[in-house]
Symmetry: C2
Subunit: 396 residues, 2 copies
C-alpha cells in the first residue's frame, strides 16, 4: 500500500460519457470500470491471477458477509482485507445495507440502524451507520460505502421519501464516523487503510424529485464519490435509465459516480452515456455458473442441445482463454456432466466480456467515437437477439 | 498430432528405479510421471493451462464416463478427445473395467463382457474387450487400456485365479481387436489417433504366483506397455508394495510400467523404487475438494480451526500459485464459506505437490541420489506425521 491519497481525474468526455482515472491507495483504476463481485473475499470461480489477466483493476467485496465470516476483527489482525485475500489492487466494499434489506422478515429497521438475524445461524446483530464504517475501516478497503436503507420496488412516494431522508441522516452519521476514524478516535477499531475513501449513496426510488434532493444533500455532506443505489431492483429499464440521467447532473463532475448493482452489458453502455464511472454486478459470474454466456451477439445458454456439436468458440470476437481454447460443444459437455470447470471457464469468459466491453467503451470515449460505438453495440445485439434470453437477475 | 509412433526409452536407473522418456503421438512424457485424472475430459477444478503451468505432461480420462456422456461417437465426430477437450498433450484412457466393477449389483460379468446399467439413467449396456477397444479408438487417446475384470479385496485364491484367467482371455481379444483397428478393419469405428498404443493389465490379486503368471502371459500377448491393476483396493500397503516388487521383474525392462490408481505421495516414491513409471490417482484432486492438502511435512486439513489465523502458506517449500499468493487462513475461510475457489486453489496445490514430487524423483534418479531422496522424503514426513491424517481413498 502506498500513501497515495484517493483522487479522481476525468481525462476525456463525449456528451454525458466520460473516461478518467481513479487513484486509490492500492493503485489506479481506469474508468468507466466494472468491478467483479467478490462477496466473501473471492470472485466465485475466478482466481485473482485470472482476474488480473483479463484486466480487472478493482474488486467489490461485501461488509455483511465478511463481518459474519470470518469477521472483520480477524481480517484486521491479518493486516486488512487486501493482505488477507492476497489481492494488492483496489477494493470497494459495499456497506451491507442491501444485504440486510434482502433478509426481509429477519431484519427490523429503526432510526438507530438495522437489527437482523444472521442468515447462517440466526444470531442477532445490529448494523448502524457507525458500525458499518467501523467494519470497513478494519477491512481497509480503498472505498467504503455508507450504510443506506434499501426499499423494495414498488414503493409509495411517502415511504420512499421517509426512507430517503433516513438514508440521508445515516449518511451524515457515517461521514462523522469516518472523520473520527481518520483521526483514529474510535476505540477498538483498527484502521488498516489510512487512505480509505468513503462514497455516499443517492436513494429516492423512481421519483426524480426525491433523487435530486437526495443527490444534493448527499453531496453537501462531502464524500469522495457518489453512488446511485436502489436501482436494478425490479423497476423497468427505461425508468432506471431516466433516473440515472436525472441524477448524474446533480453529482460533482470531478468526482466518481458509481451505479450500484447494474447490470446487463447494454445497461453499462447506456449508463456510461449518462455519466456513470463505476459498476458492479453479479450477472456475469452468477449467470456463468448457470450456463448463460454473454457474447457480442447476445446471450446464449450453453446447456442448449443446439451446442452439442458446435465446434466454434462461445464468442468469435472474444480473445479470452475459454474462447481461445474450448468449443461450445466442450463447454456444453462440461455443464451437462456438472464439472466444476464449467463454472470456472464460463466465469472467465463472462467477466472477460464485461471487462472487454468497458475497455472498448473507454477507448471509444478517448477517441471521441463513443456514440458510434454505442449505436453499433446495440445494433449488433438486436440483429442477433432472436436467440438471446433475458438475464436472470441483477444485484447480489 | 504428429506421426510419431509410440516409444519408450529408459535413460537412467538406480536400483529398481528408472527414469526415461515415453514418446506418444502427442509428444513426450518424462517418466516416472503422474497423470492427473480427468474422468470426464476435465480435471476437476483445474483448467488445462493450470495443469500445463505446473508441469502436467499427460492426462488420464475414462472410457466408461465418456462413452455414456457425451458419447464416443460425438467425440469422434469432433476429431477425437484431444480436439474435443482442447488438450494437445498425451492422454491415457482407462478401459472402463474398474468403473463397471464399481457398479456392484448393477453389473453382471460373463465371458462375453460386462452387462451393466448406467449409473445415470439405468439404461442397459454391454462392454466387451472389443467394445472398450473400439470406444478408445474413437476417443483417440495416446494410450488405450485393455478391458479387465477387477475383483474386490479380499478374494479367495480360486476366485482370483478364475478372474485373472478371464482377464487374460479378454486381453487376447482386446489385442486382436487392436490389430484390426490399426488395419482399419472394423466397420463403424473411426480411428482418430493412428498411433494409439495399447497397454495390457496384470491382475492376480494379492497372490504372487498369480501375479507372475498374469504378467508372463500378458507380456506374451505383446503390448506397448503394461499396467498393474487391482491394487489400492483395500489391501495393506505393504502387501501392495510386495506385489509391485514381485511383478515388475516379470515385465519388459524396455517398456513402460503403470501402477493403476495409486496412491499417496509415499506410495509413489516406494513404487518408483520398485520399477514403476506411470501413476494416476484421484487423491490429490478429490482430497483437495474435501480440504485435505498434501505438503512436504504431511497432510493437513485446511478446515481445521488451527489454521484460522495462520498467515503462512500451505507448504513453505511449495512454489505453486496457491502457496505464493494465499495463506492458510484465507484458504480456510474459502473452505468454511463454501467458495468454489477453495476447490480450485486446493486442487492446484495438491497437483503441484504430486507433480513436483515426481519431478524431484526424476532428478534424483538422474543424478544417482534417489535412495537418499527416498530416505529424506520419508524422514521429513515421519517427523511431522503427528498432525497428519490418512488419505480418504484411492482409485476413482
Amino acid at each position: 500500500m502506498s500513501d497515495q491519497a484517493f483522487s479522481f481525474r476525468v481525462t476525456h468526455t463525449e456528451g454525458g460519457a466520460r473516461c478518467g482515472v481513479m487513484t486509490t491507495p492500492h493503485g489506479p483504476v481506469s474508468t468507466p470500470a466494472f468491478m467483479p463481485v467478490g462477496t466473501q473475499g473471492a470472485v466465485k470461480g475466478a482466481a485473482h491471477r485470472d482476474l488480473e489477466s483479463i484486466g480487472a483493476e478493482i474488486l467489490l467485496s461485501n461488509t455483511y458477509h465478511l463481518y459474519l465470516r470470518p469477521g472483520d476483527d480477524l481480517i484486521a489482525r491479518r493486516g486488512g482485507l487486501h493482505r488477507f485475500i492476497g489481492w494488492n489492487k483496489p477494493i470497494l466494499t459495499d456497506s451491507g445495507g442491501y444485504q440486510v434489506f434482502s433478509l426481509a422478515e429477519r431484519r427490523k429497521i429503526s432510526e438507530e440502524g438495522a437489527h437482523f438475524q444472521s442468515h447462517l445461524d440466526g444470531s442477532s446483530h445490529l448494523l448502524t451507520p457507525e458500525k458499518a464504517a467501523d467494519i470497513q475501516a478494519q477491512l481497509g478497503s480503498d472505498i467504503a460505502m455508507v450504510f443506506d436503507e434499501c426499499l423494495a420496488h414498488p414503493a409509495t412516494l411517502e415511504a420512499t421519501e421517509a426512507s430517503t431522508l433516513r438514508t440521508l441522516r445515516w449518511a451524515d452519521r457515517a461521514r462523522t464516523r469516518m472523520m473520527q476514524l481518520r483521526d483514529s478516535h474510535v476505540d477498538g477499531v483498527v484502521v488498516t487503510n489510512k487512505g480509505q475513501a468513503q462514497f455516499g449513496i443517492v436513494q429516492g426510488g423512481v421519483f426524480p424529485s426525491l433523487r435530486e434532493r437526495s443527490a444534493c444533500e448527499t453531496v453537501r455532506l462531502g464524500f469522495e464519490g457518489y453512488a446511485i443505489g436502489g436501482l436494478s431492483v425490479g423497476e423497468p429499464v427505461d425508468v432506471m435509465y431516466e433516473i440515472v440521467a436525472r441524477t448524474t447532473p446533480a453529482l460533482p463532475a470531478d468526482q466518481p459516480r458509481y451505479l450500484m448493482g447494474t447490470g446487463t452489458p447494454e445497461d453499462l453502455v447506456e449508463a456510461v452515456a449518462r455519466g456513470i464511472d463505476l459498476f458492479d454486478c453479479v450477472l456475469p459470474t452468477r449467470n456463468a455458473r448457470n450456463g448463460q454466456l454473454f457474447t457480442s451477439e447476445g446471450r446464449l445458454n450453453i446447456k442448449n442441445v443446439r451446442y452439442a456439436e458446435d465446434d466454434g468458440p462461445v464468442d468469435p470476437l472474444c480473445t479470452c482463454y475459454t474462447c481461445r481454447t474450448h468449443s461450445r460443444a466442450y463447454l456444453r459437455h462440461l455443464y451437462a456432466v456438472n464439472e466444476i470447470n464449467a463454472a470456472t471457464l464460463n466465469t472467465l469468459h463472462n467477466l472477460s466480456f464485461y471487462l472487454d466491453t468497458l475497455s472498448r467503451i473507454r477507448e471509444a470515449i478517448e477517441f471521441g467515437r463513443f456514440e458510434s460505438f454505442r449505436l453499433a453495440f446495440h445494433q449488433r445485439l438486436s440483429r442477433q437477439s432472436g436467440g438471446s434470453e433475458p438475464p436472470e437477475c441483477a444485484r447480489s
